[in-house]
């Protein structure tokens, strides 16, 4: 287990290192001079030269990349070129909002999607199963921003039941919750469909296996065989998918945060792109990638810990 953990972490670090290299190398190939973009077209040559030196843009590309990575390892992602604030500080302020959004969405999706999948598998080929199948394929197919826009239009603009803008006042939990409802639904809906389909399929696999047939032969009721014996094994693939899910939700969060004008990692990156504020784009995307990679590692480890077959195969 320990060697597996170390190997997995090493792989994750290599991937992140390559990702950081890719990101910082890409930034150096931007058409145009980042210093000019920040200072405007009428900046004096001396001033833009000073900013170039400050941003390290006059060094050779490999050295710039190496510097970026060395600094990133020390927790320094550079300085926002417009507001002169450390990028880590901006990310630190934005990240809790995005994580709250992502974790709530994934929880809601699991609480609705998993029971739907189990119900569909236990009532295979009934009208309920077919209804769940239609619903889940529709949910999976819907783009997050379409759901977000329609929710905003109906519940915030037309009916005016829920707030349309911002993340709410942190000193009032009710307000934060009200601001979370629509964004969470928009992000969760794809995963409700996805989990329902996945759980139904893996539940059917398990239900058809020999040990469940044996359980029936030993006199287990359908209820006990399905929910006590089958469900545990059927949920194993879901654990791995939830790790991937957290990372994908970070991507979907960009749209939801822009649509609902919520502060967060997604809207931070989006606004930085609009302002051509590269250090923030670079740092923000790197942090998102790191979260994605480590969520996958943790999901992998959970799966191994839950499944003795995987543990012993290592």
């Amino acid at each position: 287990m320990l060697t597996y953990l170390l190997r997995r972490l090493l792989m994750a670090l290599i991937v992140l290192l390559l990702a950081a290299t890719l990101l910082s190398a890409l930034v150096r190939f931007i058409p145009g001079d980042p210093a000019k973009i920040v200072l405007g077209p009428r900046a004096s040559p001396a001033l833009s030269e000073r900013l170039r030196a400050e941003m390290g843009l006059n060094l050779p590309v490999p050295e710039q990349v190496a510097r970026f990575i060395a600094n990133a390892v020390r927790g320094d992602l550079g300085v926002d070129v417009l507001r002169r604030v450390p990028v880590t500080q901006l990310i630190g302020a934005a990240l809790p909002n995005t994580l709250l959004l992502a974790v709530c969405s994934l929880t809601v999706a699991a609480l609705i999607g998993i029971p739907l999948g189990v119900y569909a598998a236990a009532h295979r080929n009934t009208w309920a199963d077919r209804l769940i199948a239609v619903l889940s394929v529709s949910f999976v197919a819907l783009p997050t921003y379409v759901v977000g826009l329609v929710l905003l239009l109906v519940f915030a603009v037309q009916l005016d039941w829920l707030p349309a803008i911002g993340a709410g006042d942190w000193s009032q939990p009710g307000d934060v919750l009200a601001h979370l409802v629509l964004p969470v639904i928009a992000l969760a809906i794809v995963w409700v469909g996805y989990l329902a389909r996945l759980v139904r399929a893996s539940m059917l696999d398990v239900i058809n296996s020999d040990y469940i047939r044996a359980a029936f032969a030993f006199g287990h009721s359908q209820r006990s065989a399905y929910y006590r014996l089958a469900l545990r094994n059927a949920l194993l693939p879901t654990v791995a998918i939830l790790g991937v899910g957290l990372g994908n939700l970070l991507g979907g969060a960009v749209f939801v945060e822009v649509i609902f004008t919520r502060p967060g990692l997604g809207s931070l990156i989006y606004n930085a792109i609009e302002a051509r504020n590269y250090p923030v784009v670079q740092g923000g995307v790197l942090v998102a990638a790191a979260l994605f990679v480590f969520a996958n590692v943790i999901a992998d480890l959970c799966q191994r810990w839950l499944d003795p077959r995987l543990r012993n195969a290592a």
Partner: protein, 294 residues
């Protein structure tokens, strides 16, 4: 070529059978209709759309649906229906080449990794892992921030986002096929590497690739519209569903119609293409039912 009647049904009929199999499932029939409507809109946009997509009519801006304007007008008085019809061109003209390029790159990398193994496999796996370490949309944003928004950039982003998925599927399939006895038999008969791959391995991985392609086109369309919605995709005046969404989003309190109809177009399209892909999967190879998407 003998004149004798062939004792077995010829495999040439297979394409026809696939179409029937797809159309027989309700989801597949719906998907097939959506695919046909999309293609018709893209090919015959000037015949279907009642107005030019860029024709402004400021006095009649932000109109509700009416006989003159089926889906109303936007903030410049342009006909929303016409813009959505022309938008199918943008959607298909970015999604299809993007996913096709991804398929070609992924196929090459996947065959290299799966067939050669060793260090080639290691390098390909690290590359795909690295690209898949970013949530696709964030990677697209970072790339577009650098290369600048344009139609070509969107195609490039789609190609880069989907290529690793193809590389992984192709590698897994090639690995499985390489271990088959018939491949050993061919090698024993003196087939070279090129012949083994081109004549004996590739034909057997066409089905999963076709299925994955159909499903990815749906995702690629949502990526194009999403990036255009954020203002980082195709640029006005090119009509894109994402641009209609973003124009409508800015005036959502004055008129809900552009957002509503563009959302509907996207929802029906992605649902239709997904159902079509699933029907295609069931028709081509039922064994793949769960493999491809995992």
């Amino acid at each position: 070529m003998s004149a004798e009647p062939h004792p077995l049904p010829l495999p040439a009929r297979r394409g026809g059978v696939t179409v029937v199999r797809i159309a027989r499932q309700p989801g597949g029939a719906f998907g097939a209709i959506v695919v046909l409507v999309l293609m018709a809109c893209a090919l015959a946009a000037p015949l279907i759309a009642p107005y030019d997509y860029a024709q402004q009519d400021i006095p009649n801006r932000l109109q509700s649906p009416s006989a003159q304007h089926l889906m109303g007008t936007d903030h410049l008085g342009r006909d929303v229906f016409s813009r959505l019809v022309y938008g199918t061109r943008t959607a298909l003209a970015t999604a299809l080449p993007g996913v096709l390029i991804a398929l070609v790159i992924g196929l090459a990398l996947g065959v290299l990794a799966g067939y050669l193994g060793g260090w080639a496999e290691g390098i390909v796996l690290i590359i795909t892992d690295t690209f898949q370490a970013f949530p696709a949309i964030l990677f697209a944003l970072a790339l577009l921030a650098l290369i600048g928004p344009s139609t070509a950039s969107v195609i490039a982003v789609i190609a880069i986002a989907f290529a690793p998925g193809y590389a992984r599927v192709v590698r897994a399939q090639v690995l499985a096929l390489k271990a088959q006895p018939y491949v050993d038999a061919c090698r024993a008969l003196g087939a070279g590497h090129l012949r083994l791959v081109a004549a004996h391995i590739l034909p057997n991985i066409v089905a999963p690739l076709v299925i994955l392609f159909a499903m990815d086109v749906a995702s690629a369309i949502t990526i194009e519209a999403g990036l255009s919605f954020l203002g980082l995709g195709v640029q006005p005046p090119t009509p894109s569903w994402g641009v209609v969404l973003s124009d409508g989003f800015g005036r959502i309190r004055q008129s809900p119609w552009p957002v509503l109809f563009a959302s509907l177009a996207l929802a029906v399209t992605t649902l239709g293409l997904t159902l079509f892909g699933e029907a295609l999967r069931d028709a081509l190879d039922p064994r793949l039912s769960r493999v491809v998407r995992a």
